[in-house]
Amino acid sequence: MATPRTPATGSLKRKPRLTELVIQSLLFLCGLLSIFVTAGIIYELGKESLLFFGRTQWQLTNKPIAAAISPADTAIEVGAVGTPAQPGDLLRINGEIVRLVTIENGAYVVERGVNDTLPAAHAAGVVLEKGIDPSLAEFFTGTTWAPHAGLFGVLPLLNATLMVSGIAILVALPLGLATAIYLSEYASPKARNTLKPVLEVLAGVPTVVYGYFALTFMTPLLRTIFGQDVVQIYNTASAGIVIGILILPLVSTISEDALTAVPRSLREAAYGLGATRLETAVRIVLPAAFSGIAAAVIIAISRAIGETMVVALAAGAGPAFTFNPFQAAETMTGHIVRISGGDLSYDSLDYNSIFAIGLMLFLMTLVLNIFSQYIVRRFREVYE
């Protein structure tokens, strides 16, 4: 024989295989990279959000100093006009920061030169600025988002996001579910094989094209139907409907998969009892596929919340606290895009604010995604 046999003296003992070890480690690192991405997201969003909440904003009080003061003075005579300050407030006078201790006979008694500033002389007529720290409570309850003016309520952005997502799911859920039922329970295999790719084309169109569609087609359509005076050029209804169309394939394909996965024996059992096709589809197959459909809907909501380009183009550029779907209102994602589209300098209030909003967006979608996975695991019926 030409090929010599392995020497019989060779041992079967384990020998270190260096290349194998190196390759395995490299592969493991690649797997681990995804953890770093998540860690990066949480770390960066968290860090910058903390900076956002730790950042003092200065709001004009319109209250002027009545008389000039020297660096040594601790009592400041103030004018009658403008918003009064409370003891404990931080005040800024021309770059010097003071803390208000108490008010005596209308004069502010202050501690001078706090927060690493130095006491200086100030002329009469200088207007006081009041320091405001964004608080979590105000963040979640305030109804105006104007960080530069010291108003940190995220509700207008959140409200717009929820409205757009709500409208989207109102469009996508009935249409998507009905489509899924039709495709899985009624359509012939041939019709199914033609129609499914059509819906998948819908899913493959870039979202910016949907934005273009919303602004140039849906908005004019809504304005024609409901009147130019009722529907503003930018409005949440148009964005919501178009996002609904955008997530429609998501709802219908995942739901259809869930419906098709229901074993045929269940359908036969229902037919065997004298059920009609509708009764079988809606009362046996649909409940049996509940977990998959619920997961599809939750994923679709999460997708709608995170959707950006449609709202950036069609929903409006400016936070507004309104429940009218025909009015302009900026969503969380729309706000992030608009703010970062300009010249954004690091460590500015705007820079930090997009991280705070981003963190909230991340947590919302994460909770929804985890919830959908939980539903799938918890409610999945186990067939043999």
């Binding site: 012939s188 295999p189 074993p263 045929r264 024996s265 269940l266 359908r267 036969e268 059992a269 229902a270 037919y271 065997g272 009892l273 004298g274 059920a275 009609t276 009764e279 009362r283 046996i284 409940p287 049996a288 019926e381 186990v382 067939y383 043999e384």
Partner: protein, 267 residues
């Protein structure tokens, strides 16, 4: 015995009757020219080697084959003298009167109670549902085992219990005929025995047709037996070879092929 003579002769006692029933999967003829009259309140067993179209024939009796798009049925199936394949017949109505129990237990992912009540409810049951569930479960010899867990999922029962639940569910709709497609093939011997006993009880009230691959089972439970086999012309179509009283069939079969099958020489 000529086919027509047989058909006319037994029309009185026939629960269901097939005339020249042929079934095709696409171009393939799976079952050829079956003429079979099933007698009322009797248990009829359909036996034969695998792939001879036993289940296909059974499913033709309540138009279950229609759920598979490629299946095509020719010939007639008369139920109370009416052809269930006539164009104006509603398959839903057919299936309500001719119920079915399947090879694998397939309870709905609903509670035990709902499993039994559902079929009756969609069919417009007007009486007391609790009573119906009770009587159906009792008739299926399941009541004592599940009376405390009516709210639990039907899927939580054991395999044998699930199959009896499926039988209870079928009884609750009050069909005239119950088709059973190898109902014990997925069960252990003890569960099988229970179902066989149950079938004897049910036969007092219902006509039962059972497909089985187990000849002992056919011999034990059935009154009449139909033996199917593949045609010998090489086209592999299922045909009715012999049909008669179970006792006669298992002791003095008319045909050689039946005897070969029963004595285990092939199959």
């Amino acid at each position: 015995m000529s086919d027509t003579a047989q058909a006319t002769a037994s029309l009185n006692g026939a629960a269901i009757l097939s005339k020249d029933l042929s079934i095709y999967y696409g171009d393939f003829q799976a079952v050829r020219d079956v003429n079979l009259d099933i007698q009322t309140n009797r248990i009829t067993a359909i036996i034969g080697p695998s792939g001879c179209g036993k289940s296909t024939v059974l499913r033709a009796f309540n138009r279950m084959n229609e759920l598979i798009p490629s299946v095509n049925t020719k010939g007639e199936v008369l139920f109370r003298g009416e052809n269930i394949y006539a164009p104006d017949v509603d398959p839903v109505e057919v299936r309500r009167r001719i119920g079915m129990v399947f090879q694998k237990p397939n309870p709905f992912p609903k509670s035990v109670y709902e499993n039994v009540a559902w079929g009756a409810r969609i069919n417009g049951h007007k009486g007391n549902l609790d009573e119906l569930v009770h009587s159906s479960l009792k008739a299926a010899a399941l009541w004592d085992e599940v009376k405390d867990k009516l709210d639990q999922s039907g899927l939580s029962l054991s395999g044998g219990q699930q199959q009896r639940l499926c039988i209870a569910r079928t009884i609750a709709v009050r069909p005239d005929i119950i088709l059973m497609d190898e109902p014990c093939s997925a069960l252990d011997p003890i569960a099988t025995l229970r179902i066989e006993e149950l079938m004897r009880d049910l036969a007092k009230e219902f006509t039962i047709i059972i497909v089985t691959h187990n000849m002992q089972q056919a011999a034990r439970v059935s009154d009449r037996t139909a033996f199917f086999s593949l045609s010998e012309d090489g086209k592999r179509a299922g045909m009715l070879m012999e049909y008669g009283d179970t006792k006669t069939m298992f002791t003095r079969p008319e045909k050689k092929i039946t005897e070969d099958y029963i004595t285990g020489r092939f199959g």
